[in-house]
């Protein structure tokens, strides 16, 4: 007889214990990030019978054949893709929201209106020193608001670039980690617990990388993965080799990315979002600069055409022609040239003030800033819709994956009972073997 009852029982108890351990492991990792539910496949140990005695019983018990990892490649890929889209939308939206806040909350629009109102008020009595001082102080507020807005915009840009640079560093770290996982996966035994946890690590790393840029993956039969990033798809991780991702910042603050020197566009993920937000930021900065410069040139040109309160030729009120450099250089309100050229001191003729106000209303900076605000806020509103749609898609993809690969505690509770009973039954079988042995020994007494 090729089998013995005791070892069959022992093998059953061992298999049941293995299954119990896997169940306990599932329960322990019910809320671990990236953990995929394991299940055990228990198979019969088939031993061949001795030649010529085929009719003999050839039972050899059972063993744990495979610790199976219940991962679904399609759902994982879908989750990575939707997450990359969501991250792009998130970063772009938060960048745009910051731009909106910078332009809106600095009150630049209000200060332009106040400046116009102060000029209009001055037209009521152009020689009144209080009204002149009011114009000058509103001009200073206006310049300061432009400076503040420009400062806030550049810190929005710095924040976006800082995050993007950190993301690129993370991307390189994860790439190197993934290459190491690849090497170990190539050596891990199929169906082993080791392989399962390496695959967990691999998928976790892929998920993290997909938050930064769009990645495309090619899986080999041994579980190793080759990763290409962005478009055009450029090889980043292949076997144990990993490329180097770099970022560059242009003079206008926009960013470019490259892998091993080959330029790529990230396509999706937070890097793509940052690149988009930075492009918007650069465009807004240009429009803000042109609004600042239109105010400065309209007012300064008009100043040059008139004479100040003391009868001298008008001097510029503003210096600088960008939002960051706009400042008031006129020191006293009496320098505002309200009277036309050739007028004597203390002239109440306000022809030049009228021309100045006309030039300002022709340049219409209030409308320009209003349209900047409108464009930014309309973009934010549009992106919010996109983002919430992508969020729903990404969250349902994640839930779909979790439902398939996550741990269900009720299931595990049932498994716990099942394998516990199997263990007890195997133990019982071993006891029976022992009883039989005792009976046989007792025959001789």
């Amino acid at each position: 007889m090729a089998s013995d009852l005791l070892s069959i029982g022992a093998s059953g108890a061992r298999a049941a214990r293995g299954a119990l351990e896997v169940t306990a492991n599932n329960i322990a990792n019910a809320s671990s990030d990236g953990y995929v539910r394991r299940s055990v496949r228990i198979e019969e140990v088939a031993s061949g019978s001795i030649a010529g005695r085929g009719t003999d019983i050839a039972a050899s018990g059972s063993r744990v054949a495979e610790v199976r990892r219940n991962a679904d490649g399609f759902r994982q890929a879908e989750m990575r893709r939707t997450q990359a889209d969501l991250q792009r939308a998130n970063v772009e939206l938060s960048g745009l929201e910051n731009i909106e806040a910078a332009v809106e909350q600095s009150g630049i629009f209000d200060s332009i209106v106040e400046f116009e109102a102060a000029l209009q008020q001055l037209s009521g009595d152009p020689t009144d020193s209080a009204r002149r001082a009011a114009v000058l102080s509103e001009a200073e507020t206006l310049a300061a608001k432009f400076n503040i807005t420009s400062g806030s915009l550049s810190s929005v840009g710095e924040g976006l670039r800082f995050n993007a640079v950190a993301n690129v560093a993370d991307m390189n770290t994860y790439g190197a980690e993934l290459a190491r996982v690849n090497l170990r996966l190539a050596r891990a035994g199929f169906g082993s617990n080791d392989q399962a946890s390496l695959l967990d690590q691999r998928d976790n790393l892929l998920e993290k990388m997909s938050a930064f840029a769009s990645i495309s993956t090619t899986f080999a039969s041994d579980g190793t993965v080759a990763v290409s990033v962005g478009s055009p798809a450029t090889s980043f991780v292949s076997g144990g080799n990993v490329g180097t991702m770099t970022s560059t910042t242009a003079a206008n603050g926009t960013m470019g990315f490259a892998i091993d020197g080959a330029a790529i566009s990230p396509g999706a993920g937070s890097l793509a979002g940052a690149a988009l937000a930075l492009d918007d930021l650069a465009a807004i900065a240009i429009r803000l600069d042109s609004a600042a410069s239109s105010i400065a040139s309209a007012i300064n040109t008009a100043q040059a055409n008139g004479v100040a309160l003391d009868g001298t030729a008008g001097q510029p009120i503003f210096s600088g022609n960008t939002a960051a450099t706009l400042s008031v250089v006129l020191s006293s309100g009496s320098g505002i040239a309200t009277a036309p050229a050739g007028s004597p001191a203390n002239e109440r003729n306000q022809q030049n003030l009228t021309d100045m106000r006309q030039a300002l209303s022709a340049a219409n900076p209030a409308d320009n800033v209003n349209s900047i605000l409108f464009d930014v806020s309309a973009k934010v509103a549009g992106r919010k819709v996109t983002q919430s749609a992508l969020e729903t898609i990404a969250s349902s993809a994640r839930i779909a994956l979790e439902e398939q690969s996550g741990v269900d505690l009720d299931n595990e509770a049932a498994n716990l009972i099942r394998y516990q009973q199997a263990f007890q039954a195997s133990g019982r079988a071993m006891q029976v073997a022992s009883d039989i042995f005792d009976t046989l020994i007792g025959i001789g007494r």
């Binding site: 019910a30 809320s31 539910r37 219940n70 929201e97 909106e100 806040a101 809106e104 629009f109 209000d110 209106v113 106040e114 116009e116 109102a117 209009q120 008020q121 037209s123 009521g124 009595d125 020689t127 009144d128 203390n346 002239e347 109440r348 003729n349 306000q350 209030a366 209003n370 349209s371 605000l373 409108f374 930014v376 806020s377 309309a378 934010v380 509103a381 919010k384 969250s395 994640r398 839930i399 979790e402 439902e403 398939q404 690969s405 996550g406 741990v407 269900d408 505690l409 009720d410 299931n411 509770a413 049932a414 716990l416 009972i417």
Partner: protein, 306 residues
């Protein structure tokens, strides 16, 4: 078999409860601020319109101030006209008295003295200042409207020929007063341009000369004073109509402010009744999903294992 993953259950529940909470908080914020828009991006079109309304309102506030200044100046001028009319009437009474044949030369001389005094007072009025300290009847001039020669006492108009109009909003403007010549100058019977100051001093000189010429000059002076009186009262009437126009514009501005306030509350205001009931609805749903979440979370096979 669909595997109901525990993680998926918790993730779904947090997403749902979180989004309900976020919506309830947005509503709460709208109730707290009374504004429907916290950021421009909440409704870009309404936000842009609100900004333009703010601008309109600000400009309108300056218009109000300018129109108040104009109104003050007009009232100053109105008062001066009233006083001038009284003085000219008094001058006419005196001239009538001087024209009387029974009036003696001494009496005429004393009338001449009173006429000189009246002329000084009229000049004082003509050189009056408005609220901002500029000449009331000097056009755009800074300082006095009439310059008085210290030797001869002759008054010469030194102001500008016209007074610039002041904007009072909606493209309307108003001239906030009159220039001296518009009030005090006129053409005499021979068609020559003259003013009341020159005529008064000529009259008082003639009265001092005495005799029949003085009586004749006084009679001529009556016509001149009538013309001058007419001129002043005409100017006062024009001024009155300007004041009425200002009032109309002020009313229009008030109506406009009301319209702006109305439009603002329609565009950006949160309707309290609607918002409150939506918040209540949201809170009911939130409570229901929270309690169902707790019940489902307690439904666990492990709690059955003893």
């Amino acid at each position: 078999m669909i595997n109901l993953s525990t993680g998926a259950f918790y993730e779904r529940s947090t997403t749902q409860i979180g989004s309900l909470r976020a919506r309830a908080e947005t509503l709460q914020q709208q109730i707290g601020s009374g504004e429907r828009l916290a950021h421009s991006s909440d409704d870009p079109v309404a936000a842009a319109r609100l900004r333009m309304l703010d601008r309109e309102e600000r400009v309108s506030a300056v218009d109000t101030r300018n129109s108040q200044t104009a109104e003050n100046n007009l009232k100053f001028a109105d008062e001066a006209f009233g006083q001038a009319a009284v003085m000219i009437s008094r001058a006419r009474e005196l001239a009538l008295q001087a024209a009387n044949a029974t009036t003696s030369d001494e009496q005429r001389a004393s009338i001449a003295t009173e006429l000189d005094g009246l002329r000084q007072n009229l000049l004082g009025l003509a050189n009056g200042r408005n609220a901002a300290g500029h000449a009331l009847f000097g056009g755009q001039a800074v300082g006095n409207a009439y310059q008085i020669d210290s030797a001869t006492g002759v008054a010469t108009y030194v102001g500008t020929a016209t007074l610039d109009a002041v904007e009072i909003g909606e493209g309307q403007s108003i001239v906030p007063g009159n220039t001296g010549p518009e009030v005090f100058s006129f053409t005499d019977s021979s068609g020559a341009q003259t003013d009341i100051f020159a005529e008064l001093s000529a009259l008082s000189t003639a009265l001092r000369a005495g005799g029949q010429t003085a009586a004749d000059a006084a009679r001529d002076g009556l016509t001149m004073l009538d013309t001058s009186f007419d001129k002043v009262t005409t100017a006062q009437t024009v001024l009155g109509s300007r004041l009425a126009w200002l009032e109309v514009m002020t009313e229009r501005r008030t109506d406009n402010m009301e319209r702006i306030a109305d439009e603002r509350s329609v565009m950006g205001g949160a309707d309290l009744a609607v918002t409150m009931s939506r918040l209540q609805e949201m809170l009911t749903v939130l409570e229901a999903s929270q309690s169902s979440f707790v019940r489902l979370a307690n439904l666990n096979l492990f709690s059955m294992l003893r």
